[in-house]
Subunit: 205 residues, 2 copies
Amino acid sequence: MNQQYPSLLLQKAVDEFSKLPGVGKKTAMRLVLHLLRQETEEVDAFGKAITQLKHEVKYCKVCHNISDTDVCQICANPSRDTSTICVVESIQDVMAVEATQQFHGLYHVLGGVISPMDGIGPSDLQIDSLVERVSKGDVKEVILALSSTMEGDTTNFYIYRKLADKSVKISVIARGISIGDELEYTDEITLGRSIVNRTLFTGNI
Amino acid sequence: MNQQYPSLLLQKAVDEFSKLPGVGKKTAMRLVLHLLRQETEEVDAFGKAITQLKHEVKYCKVCHNISDTDVCQICANPSRDTSTICVVESIQDVMAVEATQQFHGLYHVLGGVISPMDGIGPSDLQIDSLVERVSKGDVKEVILALSSTMEGDTTNFYIYRKLADKSVKISVIARGISIGDELEYTDEITLGRSIVNRTLFTGNI
């Protein structure tokens, strides 16, 4: 549909919305018209929430997680285990691991994985600051919790080599078939790895 | 996933985004983090485009289409045929009809259709102002271009009765099988109607 907008203001708002990932012109139009139907205060709150976030957001000086303060809530929490660092790609991954309630150490947010195809090299990521954190000596274990992709594996290996001369244990999160998955539908690489990396059955699940 | 946000500002922005129709918490988070990666000026432009639209947008006094001016570009255009009014539900529908380049008259945007289930009655729509426009006598034809739904049909009938005593021709856009559709997959009501409302074959398509 070759769209001629009845209003320049409308067109500008639709253009801005359609810059968002996964939002086309039609969806953008729908979202903008939805906002137009809301109260002025609500629309102002929407606009403000976004600009305020961009202007005022901080990143934790220690782990690079998003934060309202210089040091994030997790790093500043005295009850967390400071000897374990879980290395993740993104803020979402911190939230995902936190939601499991299975990890009580600290995080280190890389900001991505090494991906030469996308022009992302080690220097674009928070790898040097990870090495620096580990060098301080307090850290006993670094858990690599990156995506199970070629890029994730490359990054794991890069970090492993960077930390090779430090006296720190380096582990990687378990790969295997997901809870609830049926063997028949599991891809063969995952299934193969889960056989190689089998663990002792103790009667507990 | 029971999400604990690492930042209140982030949470506020995600909450605002997830109020949009069809946007869940996960999508909202993805969109917000996308915006966070953009330049500050771009984020400001995004926020401004939306609030500015809400504050400065106007609706055409004549046809109720969205507009930057008191009377919209279409109503103000002297080359449009002022004797024909196409009645549509929404701004998007004006744009859809305009995109066909088959209509050169004016529009009337109802702002919805009569839908008792959603609490939308005739008084919530721009029906009185349509009757008023027609009463002025200049209008020769009113084309009803509403959705082919129960609500659309109800609204068509309501408008038809409201205009019954005016000397105006009332037409409804053709319903039939879509161009490119195969008969086999056309629903029987549409197919039935398209047989009843068959038109003379003139050799042109």
